[in-house]
Symmetry: C2
């Protein structure tokens, strides 16, 4: 889809499905974003005129391109530009939240926070916040949360034993939102 370093051609709005953005180094990569419907892809590409990471689908997805010239075009209404500015700033803020979620927190807090965040995003889409499907693999979740996939497995299993959630394949049920939240906000 999009490769890290590709020249910036425009923003993409996600209509359906799920995508991931990853930042590549020598031999490994770090997943920096999961994009759900309503999210904007490419905000971090405007300034340096090239995409900051590789974007790939996690499941079949629908996108809409907003070409670069529409952003750069001086004749576009200023309202749009300001909308974009707010969008950028909010994305930056959300990034801080994620950064905090991950840094300095033990793994179980990170995993709990991940499921709470996902639940919240599905609720915003009008889907059930208690039962949903996450198309990404455990390894991708672990990478996103910066931990070994084995660690993610063990914690998910522990959460199941504690009755906090159930996981069968890619289907997840949040059984105890309060319990998970209390762990995430530890």
């Amino acid at each position: 889809m999009i490769n890290q370093g590709d020249p910036f051609e425009g923003l993409y709005i996600v209509h359906c499905g799920m995508l991931k953005q990853s930042y590549q180094r020598r031999y490994d990569e770090l997943i920096t974003h999961f994009f759900l419907p309503g999210d904007v892809i490419g905000l971090d590409a405007i300034g340096y005129r090239c995409y900051a990471g590789t974007v790939a689908t996690v499941e079949t997805s629908g996108l809409r391109l907003i070409p670069f010239r529409c952003i750069e075009d001086l004749s576009s209404p200023e309202a749009r530009l300001k909308e974009l500015i707010c969008c950028l700033s909010e994305a930056m803020h959300d990034e801080h939240t994620r950064l905090w979620q991950i840094l300095n927190q033990p793994s179980d807090v990170k995993v709990a926070g991940f499921f709470i965040t996902m639940s919240y995003k599905f609720r915003n889409q009008g889907c059930s916040p208690h039962s949903f499907r996450l198309p990404m693999s455990r390894q991708e979740i672990a990478n996103y949360l910066c931990m070994a996939s084995e660690t993610a497995c063990r914690i998910i299993k522990r959460f199941q034993k504690q009755g906090l959630l159930s996981a069968r394949g890619h289907e997840y049920c949040i059984l105890d939102p309060e319990g998970l939240t209390s762990i995430a906000e530890q």
Copy 2:
């Protein structure tokens, strides 16, 4: 100066000195930014209309305020808005870089990367990239890099033994830039 949650009043451009932005939780705080001359404070506050973190001086600093109304004012030239958009996007990208620097990397890589980044920033200001003063404490550096202050101490001491840099109080000399870079890019 600025407290987390304060209503957004405008952006600040740093003219001289150094400041820090920290994100506060229950009992602890995470330093998310060190602002050097040329940096912009408050980009992450535009969208949600309130400052995302507490900003405080690390040493005496000079700032210039760009009031909110200048940003919101419809009559402002569009060129300025687009400049702001690029600024936001670049800041977001730089944030990714920092996020990567910290996540998943052993402590010595983080510390080496920190000094390389600082050296680079001083060079951009026209100061010596080999010898400079960092007004922040070791504890603040450690917090910024998400590690215990003792760990930061030990690594700085090890770097000194290896002849990579020298540190006397807040004065630092980069003795072996290539050596540090090779550790940082590990």
